[in-house]
């Protein structure tokens, strides 16, 4: 089966006065039909830029500098603007992080849903209004017939996120990219929105690229996970494998630093902080913070190594030729897997 979306060696750079800085650096992943891929990373790791690159919405000084993005057999990077506009919304839809700012405050929410349908020629003006009501009902907004005439400020944050989901689903896309869809929301509202996304995904047989920094959200929603750090995907694998047997020290560190051990115990924090993209250390970008660092880590960037069934990690701990030189602590971690 060929993947619905295949991203290969995607590199997106931002031109700075000195030199281009890669925000997304040689990133490859695939999303199968009906699958949810969770893209997890901290701020500045490049996960949102990855989403924008797929939609070809990266604004200057940013630009896609290389790679291929194949969606349904079409290479998106070679499409002309008109063909790309037809893909956006109808083939791939994007749900933004901020439900407070992603809606236009001066238009009724119904008109904003209808606009998507009209732009893609999916409905006449009259049909579009009726369809907007249907969509609001589908995302379970109470009393959709009158809510359709509301302005965004009349809706709560959770309701606005539901409207954004309705807009994204209006033209029945096959892939939805949700960029931190619940970050601005309270935890009870977050739970409702995640339930809604899961339900919509099943009902409309969507594929979902879910971008988040929250490992809890990933565990509940994703089938497979890609972990990003400093512009690169450092680990990919099935969700269970990532949580049970993380193959990269960064993934392991993220999981260990979450509260949940005994109350009052010190958390196992990762030392240091996320490096600036313009000033990455040589070798593996995580090496200055890595508890398992050894010789090859500072020399060259690690390639992908198999770390388990369908699991890969960019880490020399998985390279048999270095096995004899690995630090004891690292061997313990690898054995524990």
């Amino acid at each position: 089966m060929s993947a619905l979306l295949q991203v290969s060696n995607l590199t997106t750079v931002f031109d700075t006065p000195r030199r281009p800085v890669a925000a997304v650096d040689d990133v490859s992943f695939a999303i199968e039909a009906g699958e949810t891929l969770g893209l997890v990373g901290e701020s500045g790791s490049g996960k949102s830029v990855t989403a924008l690159s797929i939609m070809r919405l990266v604004q200057p000084p940013g630009r896609v500098a290389g790679g291929r993005i194949v969606f349904n057999g079409q290479d998106l990077l070679t499409l002309d603007d008109k063909a790309m506009r037809a893909i956006r919304g109808a083939g791939i839809a994007l749900i933004f992080q901020e439900p407070m700012t992603a809606l236009n405050p001066v238009f009724r929410v119904g008109d904003q849903i209808a606009e998507t349908l009209l732009v893609h020629g999916r409905a006449t003006r009259r049909e579009a209004k009726a369809r907007a009501v249907e969509l609001l009902r589908a995302v379970r907004i109470p009393d959709p017939g009158s809510r359709v005439n509301d302005y965004p400020h009349q809706l709560s944050g959770g309701m606005r996120q539901r409207v954004l989901i309705a807009i994204s689903l209006a033209c029945q896309p096959s892939l939805v990219i949700a960029d931190e869809p619940t970050t601005a929301l309270d935890v009870t509202i977050q739970a409702e929105i995640l339930d809604l996304l899961r339900e919509m995904k099943t009902a409309m047989s969507l594929s979902l690229l879910l971008i988040t920094h929250d490992l809890g959200v990933i565990a509940e929603t994703a089938d497979r996970v890609a972990v990003m750090y400093a512009g690169r995907i450092v680990e990919t694998g099935p969700v269970r494998a990532i949580f049970r047997n993380p193959g990269h020290p960064y993934t392991r560190g993220l999981l260990a630093s979450m509260p949940g051990g005994g109350p009052g115990q010190r958390l196992r924090a990762i030392d240091g902080s996320v490096p600036l993209l313009g000033a990455l250390p040589p070798g593996c970008a995580f090496n200055p913070r890595c508890p398992d660092r050894f010789e090859p880590c500072t020399e060259a960037r690690p390639p992908d190594y198999p770390a388990g069934p369908q699991q890969t990690a960019k880490c020399y701990l998985h390279d048999p030729q270095f096995a004899s030189r690995m630090p004891q602590s690292a061997i313990r971690n690898v054995d524990a897997r």
């Binding site: 901290e42 701020s43 309270d186 935890v187 009870t188 509202i189 977050q190 739970a191 409702e192 995640l194 339930d195 920094h213 929250d214 490992l215 809890g216 959200v217 990933i218 565990a219 509940e220 969700v239 269970r240 949580f243 560190g253 993220l254 999981l255 630093s257 979450m258 509260p259 949940g260 051990g261 109350p263 009052g264 115990q265 010190r266 958390l267 196992r268 924090a269 990762i270 030392d271 902080s273 996320v274 913070r289």
Partner: protein, 293 residues
Amino acid sequence: MSTLVEVSHLVKQFTRDAGLFRKGTAVAAVDDVSFSIGKGEMFGLVGESGSGKTTTGRCMLRLVEPTSGEVRFRGDNVLAFSRRRMRETRRDMQIVFQDPYSSLNPRMRARQIVEEPLIIHRLGARAERQERVAELFRLVGLNPVHLDRYPHQFSGGQRQRIGLARALALNPSFLILDEPVSALDVSVQAQVVNLLMDLQQQLKLTYLFIAHDLRLVEHICSRVAVMYLGKIVEMGPTASLFAAPQHPYTRALLSAIPVPDPDAPRQRIVLDPTTVNRSTALREITTGHFAAI
């Protein structure tokens, strides 16, 4: 354990002025809230946005003037204090804000930010103050070499450490931490949480920890109060409250936390707001565990 802070029947109403076509209305952001914090305790105040947790914290320092109620600190009602006495008392009660990006003055060097409270309270000569600032920097895990940098030259975690150093400058015994790590990256959160726990031990501090992240509160706090629409609906020892939540809102809130385990059973409890009677008073369910049911 003796009581350090006691809040009783605290009320803060925000009024909305009458407009041309509208009557003036009053909204109680904090509605008859009472709790007490023992010396050396880490007390958690949790709730969602709009629950009144931040307003409660600010009322306690009189950064917002409460409408009525009492806030007793070391036995005295700070709401009755003169401005002068309040200012002196604030040496002992400090606050760390949520957002390390907007809570530090971008035009001041880290040194000035940490030194400012000492100047305001006229503590020490210049040389002593400089020494104290360097000491505070080390205390929160920063290198005094960087004292002359501006806030933007520090990472989010480091900025939060600067905020903490400033709050600790006057040797307070009580610290209000308002979402101190929620703006930080996951990998940095844990460092700051560890620092907060270390400092509490080392300096025998008392914390009011205001947060929406229940996992964090469960980890840090010995006692918790849950706020919903301006009221405390449940309060008790953390272990007891998390193991056996009594109020329907607490149950819904706990069930909504995404568990970082793909195999964890999911049992979402959805709150039906009509089942919550806002006038129900707190009653003791088990020792020290209260719920408004």
